[in-house]
């Protein structure tokens, strides 16, 4: 059974965020995540529907929220072709039970459509292979265009 991700995107996001960002930039929250699974061994591909395709000078940003992980574990976010987006891994002492957020950026020019597909995998020190994170390990991925 592959765990289902929760994507805490939008709703209030678009209305609330754009005014805050106005002095500096235009910021579009990502719209509804489309939960489609494409098996790739242990990896799960999640398609996220953006409100529009990013323009050439814009960046697609991700906010990845993770739950408590054992020391040494990390969650890797990548594109289906293997291009790394980033890694969610704290440094040093972390308060137990606390969620953490990580800001990441999709490499510029890698997304020309309004659909973003990402893969998350966890490297866990007590396990022998990478796997899909559970709901408690990967809380959400939110995406924005700026």
């Amino acid at each position: 059974m592959i765990a289902r991700w929760r994507f805490l995107t939008v709703g209030l996001g678009l209305a609330a965020l754009v005014p805050l960002a106005l002095p500096y930039s235009s910021l579009d929250a990502v719209a509804q995540a489309v939960d489609s699974m494409t098996a790739g061994k242990e990896a799960k591909v999640q398609n996220v529907q953006l409100p529009r395709a990013p323009r050439p000078n814009e960046t697609v940003w991700l906010t990845v929220t993770i739950g408590p992980l054992p020391f040494g574990a990390e969650i890797r976010i990548s594109l289906p072709d293997g291009t790394a987006i980033g890694t969610a891994a704290p440094f040093g002492r972390v308060l137990q039970g606390r969620n953490l957020t990580f800001q990441m950026a999709v490499p510029d020019g890698r997304l020309q459509s309004d659909s973003l597909a990402v893969i998350a995998e966890i490297a866990h020190p007590a396990e022998t292979a990478l796997r899909t994170p559970t709901d408690d390990e990967l809380i959400s991925i939110e995406a924005y265009i700026q």
Binding site: L27, T59, T83, A89, G92, V94, R98, H124
Partner: protein, 531 residues
């Protein structure tokens, strides 16, 4: 088709001819007394030697001494912020006082801390192996936990007993209500030889994921945000990590800079890392809050601080704020940092706002990866207030001179608060073919006054240099230099008078001076403008 492993940095290095011709004006920082250099550059040799000397002295100090190498690492364990918006400011203060201490203990009055540009060189610098900078292969380091306990417990107990009430409050917020809780954290952070560091001389390269985290694409993305910091429920990309109530708040949210290159380099170099990339025991120093026990720490954080400086200059160039938003500034600036020791062994009482600028530490950086993030839109700069009227024919090795007459508008700009008006000089010159290792210094002085051509002179305005090993130039290049501080000094001394001439002297300095000892380049023009 470009292979994936060739990143934008590689392309920049190999397409320098086009890069130089199309180079956008880049604001350089104004005069600084100390220059932090890339640890792998030939020019850093003396600083590296002084660093080794200082580390050796600190390792040899009695553990009762606040400059003892391990005591210095405890400052980090007891006070460092991570995953919040004070991360950069706190580490700037930590490195700044450490650098001054190294200057004193090494006896090298010009010492500046080298940095490790992991984007350009994604492997542990060779000098960190088999020297006093190698915690696994130097007999000067404490070998095991028992000896660490024996040597440090009593001095740290005494230090703890002497903490002030505000310092105790800080420790309480950090979840160190008593010495024993802090000490337990220290013991669990200590790494025994030979497990102090995961990467070795035989295996010095960052792993694939970490290399991606330090790639030029990631670094340039990290430099993109124009906002200093945001609350956790505001998803606008920001340069700093998440706003929290105090810097002792446990890790909350990571900016791209802190979460990717910072965390990944710590975790990969500290290791050990299994074949999936997960960290497994035994844990090395760099993975924990006693990470300053590994001398690599200061080279790593020097690069993080350098990128903050790049971001700051980028913000200035595009007219965006370099600090917290007005409504957040009071909370940020007043945060107490109470655990640094200065070079004279005094405990420092400081606040975060003191480290928003490099300030009294008075250093700048030899350019490194990420400088290209600074692109000054031409539209952001006003039309020149003044352009050079006379250009001497002297070579750049002798000092080429351009002169302008000070317009009223420039004087008015200089007298306005610096946050409202900033002044720039655009230096246009045709460089010689080979500029490797050469820095071009700029001095401003009254027309008939020959400037003192040293970096610590009052006439020194700053310097600029090309990035990369080789550039082939086919035409003039323009660099933009912030000249606020120098003009402020001249104004204070009554040397800026309306309509009176001032001179800009540009002189080459460095190993790149061409075969006959003369730079063949030509100074073309100097424009002065304001933002």
């Amino acid at each position: 088709m470009i292979p994936n492993h060739i990143n934008r940095r590689t392309l920049l290095k190999t397409t320098a001819a086009a890069g130089a011709a199309a180079m956008a004006p880049i604001p350089a920082r104004g005069a600084a007394n100390y220059r932090r250099k890339n640890v792998n550059s030939p020019g850093a040799k003396r600083d590296v030697e002084s660093y080794m000397k200082a580390v050796e002295v600190m390792l040899g100090l009695d553990p009762d001494h606040p400059h003892n190498w391990y005591r210095n690492a405890f400052t980090h364990l007891m006070d460092c912020p991570h995953g919040n918006w004070w991360f950069l400011a706190w580490h700037r203060g930590y490195l700044g006082y450490f650098e001054e201490t190294c200057r004193k203990l090494s006896g090298d009055a010009s010492f500046a801390l080298p940095y490790w540009d992991w984007t350009a060189d994604p492997e542990v610098p060779p000098v960190l192996f088999d020297t006093v900078l190698d915690p696994d292969n130097s007999s000067l380091y404490i070998k095991d936990t028992a000896d660490f306990e024996k040597k440090l417990n009593a001095p740290m107990t005494a230090y703890w007993e002497g903490l002030t009430t505000p310092q105790r409050t800080e420790q309480y917020k950090r979840c160190f209500p008593a010495f024993e809780t802090m000490w337990q954290d220290a013991i669990s952070s200590f790494a025994e030889q030979p497990h102090g560091r995961f990467l070795t001389k035989a295996n010095p390269k960052l792993d694939e994921n970490t290399a991606e985290a330090v790639s030029i694409d990631t670094v340039l993305s990290a430099l993109k945000p124009t906002i200093f910091a945001v609350e956790i429920d505001d998803k606008t990309p920001a340069f700093n990590s998440i706003i929290t109530e105090t810097h002792q708040t446990a890790q909350t949210g990571f900016s791209l800079l802190e979460g990717q290159p910072h965390n990944k380099v710590h975790n990969n170099t500290g290791g050990s890392v299994d074949d999936k990339g997960a960290i497994v025991p035994p844990y090395g120093f760099m993975t924990q809050f006693l990470s300053p026990i590994d001398p690599m720490f200061f080279l790593h954080h020097g690069n993080i601080d350098r990128l903050w400086d790049v971001w700051t200059r980028k913000q200035i160039a595009i007219g965006e704020p370099t600090g917290p938003a007005d409504e957040d500034a009071k909370a940020f600036n007043s945060e107490p940092f109470l655990f640094y020791f200065d070079a004279d062994e005094n405990q420092v009482t400081s606040t975060a706002g003191e480290f928003l600028e490099i300030g009294a530490f008075d250093y700048d950086y030899e350019p490194g990866s990420g400088e290209e993030a600074i692109q000054v839109p031409v539209a952001a700069l006003q039309a020149p207030l003044a352009s050079s009227a006379v250009v001497s024919a002297s070579s750049l090795s002798d000092g080429a001179v351009a002169t302008i007459n000070v317009p009223d508008a420039l004087l008015k700009s200089v007298r306005a608060p610096s946050e409202e008006r900033r002044q720039f000089a655009r230096i246009t010159f045709t460089p010689p073919m080979d500029v490797a290792g050469t820095s071009f210094r700029v001095f401003i002085s009254p027309k008939d006054v020959a400037p003192d051509l040293s970096r610590d002179s009052v006439e020194y305005a700053g310097s600029f240099e090309f990035f990369g090993l080789r550039h082939k130039h086919v035409g003039p290049v323009t660099f933009t230099l912030g000249i606020d501080k120098t003009l402020d000094r001249m104004e204070a001394a009554g040397l800026l008078q309306p309509g009176q001439p001032i001179s800009f002297t540009v002189i080459a300095d460095g190993s790149g001076v061409s075969t006959d000892g003369k730079m063949k380049g030509t100074l073309e023009a100097v424009d002065v403008t304001v933002l």
